[in-house]
């Protein structure tokens, strides 16, 4: 599983960091970034990461298709 976290959308709910603190690094104000290399999710983390993805209130986490990074085609796909 490959994921993207759009930090321009993150509103700092911090739920992802509760589900998987090793993938989602939370700053002192509650905003998330992916930990280094965490865009590639190992199989044993997938369940937690998927739960974070589904529960993110602002849908800041998206799953990327394998092989290329063309999920967000310009503005339209990013909103």
């Amino acid at each position: 599983m490959r994921i993207k976290l759009d930090r321009t959308l993150c509103d700092g709910f911090g739920m992802c960091g509760v589900y998987d603190p090793e993938t989602f690094s939370i700053d002192e104000w509650g905003y998330a970034s992916l930990a280094a290399g965490a865009g590639e999710v190992p199989a044993d983390r997938e369940a937690d990461v998927r739960r974070a993805l589904l529960d993110c209130p602002v849908h800041a986490i998206t799953e990327l298709s394998r092989g290329h990074a063309r999920e967000n085609r310009g503005t339209e796909g990013n909103r």
Binding site: K4, L5, D6, R7, T8, L9, C10, D11, G12, D27, W29, G30, Y31, S33, L64, H68, A69, R70, E71, N72, R73, G74, T75, E76, G77, N78, R79
Partner: protein
């Protein structure tokens, strides 16, 4: 070769001695198409693949600040999935820099020729020029009218004008604006070279980078490399502000700031340090006087050459006050999108203002130190990285000044009034046209 600069308040467009200038020309007026053609411009490109190889071998690096190899970017866009788009990025958000505006106002055909070459090399006829400066827009528009009359120009160029903003020239902000959205950065992936304008592979190149392409075309990779250094071939445009006076100079990579100051008749002994890379790399001490000006040498110091904007700090300039002013700018001018950035820049700015006012304590400083490393990479664009660079640079380069502020011993800041604005090039004289 141009002579030494005169005593005008702005020395704009002067070449360093001993080089044959590539980017600057004499005269206050914009170069017209006849003059540009007579200098060898708008030569046809017959073999796009060979040209991309030449650009790769030339070692040309992006002049917008990131210094990414131009040939690699061009190759990626050419090899991308779909018909590419190329964008000349002239939105110079950096307040200490004037070089992009100078180039567009004075050498619009050099920029358009570079854009044309980039488009043809990428395999497309679709190009954009992205600007905020009205004078630059007028200059490019008028040059484009002249260039289009020659059918061999071969590229459809549209001009997009946006409101000026620090973040508006970031490459994903450029893409988002051209796609009809706000000129605000987007998080990655995808990068524009993968999916940009209209979802197509997009080359977003700084106008100075593009202005070098006609020279690669004319000189070939080996000829291009005859000036500059192995890792930073060619020349670059430096916006140098010293004693409140801004100048624009074409300098060969590898030159030391001490030599630039000597050429300009400035006293290096009166310089306490520099603000490097515009606001992006923060302050550096006077040891930078003898470091060859190129991307890697300054990166090795923990500093950066960035877009080539350098502000000299005099003996009456306090490194803490300058840093605080720049951080206040970041706190105000960030895109307001990423929480780590709008919170982090505000927090770092608050500590630096307190330090500048000599009322910060050791715990404040430790928090600043923590943010200067811990917030790195936590924003969608480079703004937060610039802000962390600025904080880290002060702590690294001027520990004695920081200590003096903790102890209330800074004589410069003791009698200072409200915080001053950061160094910026306030205005550029309009080019005649």
């Amino acid at each position: 070769m141009s002579g030494p600069p005169g005593t005008a308040s702005h020395d704009l467009g002067v070449a360093y001695p001993g080089i044959s200038p590539r980017l600057v020309i004499d005269g206050a007026r914009a170069e017209d198409i006849g003059a540009y053609r007579s200098r060898g411009g708008y030569r046809p490109l017959r073999d796009a693949e060979a040209f991309v190889c030449e650009v790769e071998e030339s070692g040309l690096r992006g002049r917008g600040g990131a210094a990414f190899p131009a040939g690699r970017k061009l190759r990626a866009v050419r090899a991308g999935d779909g018909v590419p788009v190329v964008v000349a990025n002239g939105e110079e958000g950096e307040p200490a820099s004037v070089k992009d505006r100078w180039l567009m106002r004075h050498r619009p055909h050099l920029v358009l020729d570079g854009l044309r070459l980039a488009a043809q090399a990428a395999g497309t006829g679709d190009a954009h020029v992205f600007v905020s400066d009205p004078g630059s827009e007028r200059s490019i528009r008028s040059a484009l009218e002249a260039a289009r009359k020659d059918p061999s120009f071969g590229v459809e160029v549209s001009i997009a004008r946006v409101a000026p903003a620090y973040v508006a020239g970031e490459e994903t902000a450029v893409v988002q604006a051209l796609n009809g959205g706000p000129a605000l950065p987007m998080d990655k992936p995808p990068r524009p070279f993968e999916s940009g304008v209209g979802g197509r592979p997009t080359l977003v190149a700084n106008v100075e980078t593009l202005a070098n392409l006609p020279w690669v075309r004319r000189l070939g990779a080996a000829g291009y490399r005859e000036v500059g250094t192995e890792k930073a071939p060619g020349t670059f445009l430096m916006t140098l502000t010293i004693r409140g006076r801004a100048g624009l100079y074409e300098i060969p990579f590898g030159t030391a700031l001490r030599d630039v100051l000597a050429w300009l008749g400035e006293d290096a002994g009166a310089v306490r340090g520099f603000l490097m890379g515009g606001y992006f790399a923060g302050v550096v001490g006077e040891h930078a006087l003898d470091v060859p000006l190129e991307y890697d040498t300054f990166a090795d110091l923990g500093s950066g050459l960035g877009c080539g904007a350098v502000v000299a700090l005099g003996r009456d300039d306090c490194s803490v006050a300058t840093t605080a002013a720049v951080m206040a700018y970041f706190a105000r001018e960030n895109a307001g999108q990423c929480g780590s950035c709008f919170n982090g820049t505000a927090a770092m700015s608050a500590v630096l203002q307190a330090l500048r006012d000599q009322r910060a304590g050791a715990p404040d400083l430790e928090r600043l130190r923590g943010w200067s490393t811990g917030l790195r990479g936590r924003g969608a664009c480079g703004t937060l990285d610039g802000a962390t660079n600025v904080a880290a640079a002060l702590l690294r380069e001027f520990p004695e000044a920081v200590a003096a502020h903790l102890d209330g011993r800074c004589g410069i800041c003791a009698g200072a009034g409200p915080a001053a604005a950061p160094p910026a090039v306030a205005a550029m004289p309009a080019a005649g046209s």
